[in-house]
Amino acid sequence: MALVTLEVNGIMHSLNIDPATPLLWVIRDHLGLEGTKFGCGIASCGACTVHIDGAAMRSCVFPVSEAAGKKITTIEGLSSDASHPVQRAWLEIDVAQCGYCQAGQIMSAAALLHQNPSPTDAQIERAMSGNICRCGTYLRIKQAVKTAATIIKE
């Protein structure tokens, strides 16, 4: 066990915890932020995507000890009222079916648009291919990323 201090969505947390614990389970079990989802546990589906210092990362394989001192943003930190441009775009395009993967999709999309405000179709596909949507909403996701890019520019 080790004392780890984390900044999640702008709030500091101190935890006495096994330093190998993946960030996902710290966020879900210890901090009670359950928007970040468990899908595979091996960084292969993207359901657990969060931002670590602004970059999209798979929290299910990211040891909490390495997250110390970094700025972590989860879906709850994007906005709680769906006002973030990517969230707004997701609603406008009515992307979700079951909705389980969408927090991870939104986090990947937000990180992409932060780096590249005008991604091409191919760039969207490449950046988003780590996020599985089992319901198959990929076309709507692509459309929503483009819509979000437009909202950001307005």
């Binding site: 879900r28 928007g35 091996i42 879906i75 609603l91 909705g99 969207i124 089992r134 990929y138």
Partner: protein, 746 residues
């Protein structure tokens, strides 16, 4: 034509109205209760139909709350079904709040959400509820204003009296309406007057989804809750010999570890109790990560499971199913399927004289198609919360069969059904997997043993390797032709491990004079179940690929060829019990032909077509592919869908797009093979699910507008697209694709 329906049967009402304590009205109804014919013919009405599982509440402020009992697995019922109520009610959609029905099984008897049937069954009853409330609001207004009811109309949450120009909000009159008797019969709106049905309404849970609210079973928690995981046998055909849990119990955060049996030996299980592994090892601890680590410290030995007899409770009887022993492999399955297809088939349907027709044929086309086992891979793994005390059990999580599982839990725990409360959460995908609730019983047993609330969670590896798969299938088609290349007979022989995919009364049955359908099966100890569009998910693609080859041999355009057969099925159907409507079938083909600009003479190089009927709906698709070296790129899919009246346009398009992406993805990549009883994939690093860059670049969806009562849409768009894809790949590559996955290893 206006339709009038009765709100009661044998003087018992399907609806109940109550005034609310704080003002307003509450109408209770059953979502499936109005499939009653108007005539007094003998018709047994299920007792449950008089119990209410949906509620419509109109508050004094005019806010309308619709409580839906239906589980949301991503098929949009939580939005679409209230749209039906709201339309008949003439409500203002912006004033509507949709809630999952409160979680109390004493009042709410809930339903199975499988088979794309929710909308189909709910259509009449939801309209009855909305229309009855509307009539009661009008009656109350007529009394209040002392005007004849026929002078009143309703619009966007108000009752209007056109002659005087007066209007009153529903909220203001609701308390008076609540105490009026339920009208004995109500007239439903005509389709042209729909103002919500057929429009696009955003998912009512959209904001909760995009802001990460805890909606899913995996998110449910309770003070003092423990986490639990399970170790199941590493191979089908093995069972527990012994377990050493000493080390596991010493691991940090672990509170208990033990072996247990999910079901009592010898009981008759329903199909939804299916599981291959009854004796399991449970690890219970404080946090998910600690339990994951504790699980790794379990030391267990396994032994061969002998052949056993499982009692299955069917609707009307109990049957014995022999579950074979042995460690099965994909290679052994293929060999056994070969043998069974040659020797162990039975005739299911025969029209005319197919033997003679084949004997006299100048040419016989024979093709065999195969597909492997598939896991469902819902992105939310199996999980359930259970809080079992000595007298009660509360269970919360993603399940589609709560009423059935309630009985299973009751039997296993020794707690009466009335003390068992199963609550449904939103489900992170279903695809059939959450019909099978063994994980719910497992959670209940673990909670009972540790005397604490627990959340059972499957890891992805547990989820992918412990069963309930789409069966492995094989089908051989034969077509007989005379010297003029006329199709004279058709033969289908289909089977699988452990079930056949055949639907013998589907097209082209009914369209061919000499028709023979046979089936066979190979027993297995690998647990299988419904997977999105059961059976159709394989046989549609095979059949539609074969018909493409038949048309090609006959030098006919594939759409024109199908339309000719459908005209025959319409004009002079062969045989009995043909389970499709040839006119609607032809309708989707004609629509897709038009929308995809299909031309027999000027076809794109990589273009294929297919159509299929299943779950009461008709879908035709044209797929356009291009090859990038050996990788197909699906440029466009054009879909024509006949699911009757479309309730929520955006959601219906979304479901269709999803089915297409799902069908194409599984046809190209989906493959769960076995070696010595062990599934050869256990996670998404090697098991390939379709991803963004592999999805079709464009999908266009068109609906047939025919005013027919709505039918299912969760499943029908998937099956035919596999055939359309195979046919497009043939045009693009010159090769026929007979084995799924099309891009898999041989």
């Amino acid at each position: 034509m206006l339709q009038t329906i009765r709100t009661s049967f044998n003087r018992r009402s399907f609806l109940k109205s109550t005034a609310l304590a704080g003002g307003g009205m509450l109408i209770g109804f059953h979502w499936a209760a109005a499939g009653i014919p108007m005539s007094d013919q003998a018709f047994e009405v299920p007792e449950e139909w008089f119990k209410f599982n949906g509620f419509l509440k109109i508050s004094p402020t005019g806010q309308i709350t619709i409580q839906s009992p239906n589980p949301e697995i991503g098929q949009n019922v939580k939005t679409s079904m209230p749209m039906i109520v709201a339309d008949e009610l003439d409500a203002d959609w912006s004033k509507i709040i949709v809630e999952q029905a409160p979680l109390n099984t004493a009042i709410f008897k809930r339903q199975l959400a499988g088979g794309s049937q929710s909308i189909r069954q709910g259509w009449q009853s939801l309209r009855m509820a909305g229309a009855s409330a509307r009539e009661m609001l009008k009656s109350a207004t007529a009394q209040l204003w002392n005007v004849p009811i026929h002078e009143l109309s309703t619009k966007e949450g108000h009752v209007l009296h056109i002659p005087s120009g007066k209007s009153i909000g529903y909220g203001e009159i609701a308390s008076k309406a609540a105490v009026l008797p339920i009208p004995a019969e109500v007239t439903l709106k005509s389709e042209k007057d729909f103002h919500i049905i057929g429009t696009s309404r955003q998912n009512v849970d959209g904001i909760s989804i995009v802001t990460g609210k805890p909606l899913f079973g995996i998110d449910y928690k309770k003070e003092g809750m423990r986490m639990a995981m399970i170790v199941h046998p590493p191979a089908f055909g093995l069972k527990l010999k012994s377990a050493d849990l000493t080390q596991a119990k010493k691991m940090p955060g672990i509170v208990d570890a033990f072996t247990f049996k999910t079901y009592n030996e010898g009981i008759a299980k329903s199909a939804f109790d299916n599981t291959s592994f009854n004796e399991l090892i449970a690890i219970v601890g404080k946090t998910t990560w600690e339990v994951m680590q504790g699980k790794k410290a379990v030391q267990a030995e396994w032994k061969p499971m002998p052949e056993y007899v499982e009692k299955r409770a069917l609707f009307d009887r109990t049957i014995d199913v022999i579950i074979p022993s042995g460690l099965e492999s994909t290679a052994s399955h293929l060999q056994k399927m070969d043998e069974a297809a040659k020797t162990a088939f039975k005739v299911v349907r025969k029209d005319g004289d197919p033997e003679t027709a084949f004997g006299q044929a100048t040419h016989v086309l024979e093709r065999t198609y195969e597909a492997p086992f598939l896991p469902h891979n819902t992105l939310e793994p199996m999980n359930f919360f259970a809080d079992v005390t000595e007298t009660h059990a509360t269970l919360v999580g993603p399940i589609q069969t709560p009423e059935i599982m309630e009985k299973s839990v009751s039997e296993r725990l020794g707690i009466p059904v009335e003390n068992i409360d199963i609550q449904m959460t939103r489900m992170g995908g279903g695809f059939g997997r959450r019909l099978y609730g063994h994980f719910l019983v497992e959670a209940a047993v673990i909670s009972q043993m540790v005397k604490a609330p627990v959340k059972l969670l499957y890891t992805r590896e547990d989820d992918m390797t412990s069963g309930i798969y789409r069966p492995a299938y094989r089908v051989t088609y034969r077509a007989a032709f005379d010297a003029d290349k006329k199709l004279t007979a058709f033969h289908v022989r289909a089977g699988g491990v452990p079930e056949s995919p055949l639907s013998a009364n589907r097209f082209p049955a009914g369209a061919i004079d000499n028709y023979l359908a046979e089936e066979w099966s190979v027993p297995s100890n690998i647990s299988v179940g419904a997977w999105r569009a059961p059976r159709s998910n394989f046989i549609a693609g095979a059949e539609q690929s074969f018909l493409d080859e038949v048309a090609e041999y006959m030098n006919q355009d594939p759409i024109a060829f199908r339309l000719t057969l459908l005209e025959k099925a319409q004009a002079s159907p062969v045989g009995k019990d043909n389970d499709y409507d040839p006119v609607r079938y032809a309708g989707v083909l004609k629509l897709v032909q038009e929308k995809a600009n299909w031309s027999p003479t000027n076809q794109n190089s990589g273009r294929g077509v297919a159509a299929y009927f299943c779950h009461n709906s008709y879908v035709a698709q044209v797929v356009d592919v291009e090859m990038n070296d050996d990788t197909p790129i699906v440029k466009k899919v054009t879909a024509a869908v006949d699911c009757g009246i479309v309730i929520n346009q955006t959601a219906a398009v979304n479901m269709t797009e999803g089915g297409i992406v799902d069908g194409i993805g599984h046809a190209l990549y989906g493959n769960l093979t076995f070696a010595d009883g062990v599934p050869e994939h256990s996670n998404f690093n090697t098991y390939r699910l379709t991803r963004h860059r592999e999805a079709p670049k464009e999908i266009e969806v068109y609906f047939v507008e025919n005013g027919i009562a709505p039918t299912g849409l969760g499943e029908p768009p998937l099956p035919p697209v596999i055939g359309a894809l195979a046919n497009a790949l043939y045009k693009a590559t010159g090769k026929r694709f007979y084995k799924q996955p099309f891009l898999g290893k041989a």
